[in-house]
Assembly symmetry: C2
Homo-oligomer: 79 residues x 2
């Protein structure tokens, strides 16, 4: 699993946990809904600014969001 795919999984997990639709997350973070969809599918990877914007919308600090991405990468490197 590459970083984009790990980020996509983490984003989807926290978005659904926060009961936000892709549309709502997009609005609240100032990003396009189609971009959120590309991120969740691991097709696009986020920039630093996007990581910070999305973390704020999900009520996480950027470091917490990054920690979750690292965990996901670690888990999947065992496969």
């Amino acid at each position: 699993m590459n970083p984009a795919a790990a980020f996509g999984h983490v984003l989807r997990y926290f978005r659904i946990s926060s009961r936000l639709s892709q549309e709502r997350l997009a609005q609240e973070s100032g990003l396009d809904r189609s971009y959120i969809s590309l991120l969740e599918r691991g097709i696009k990877q986020p920039s630093l600014t996007t990581i910070i914007q999305i973390a704020q919308t999900l009520d996480l600090s950027p470091r917490e969001l990054m920690a979750k991405v690292e965990e996901k990468l670690r888990e999947n490197s065992k496969d």
Copy 2:
């Protein structure tokens, strides 16, 4: 200070603390030296993959690197 500028400051600080030249950091992280220079000056912002690559080269976890960027942003929002 925007996220790119905060990242640039943090990168420069840890690169110099690690006694690495821009060239050496570039080689070890698999990035171009000119790109490292653009990052340090806050002209470009890093992608998730670049954050992970640079953190590894600087012997930090990506979450630690992100924490430093957050601190820098917080410090400079007080001005």
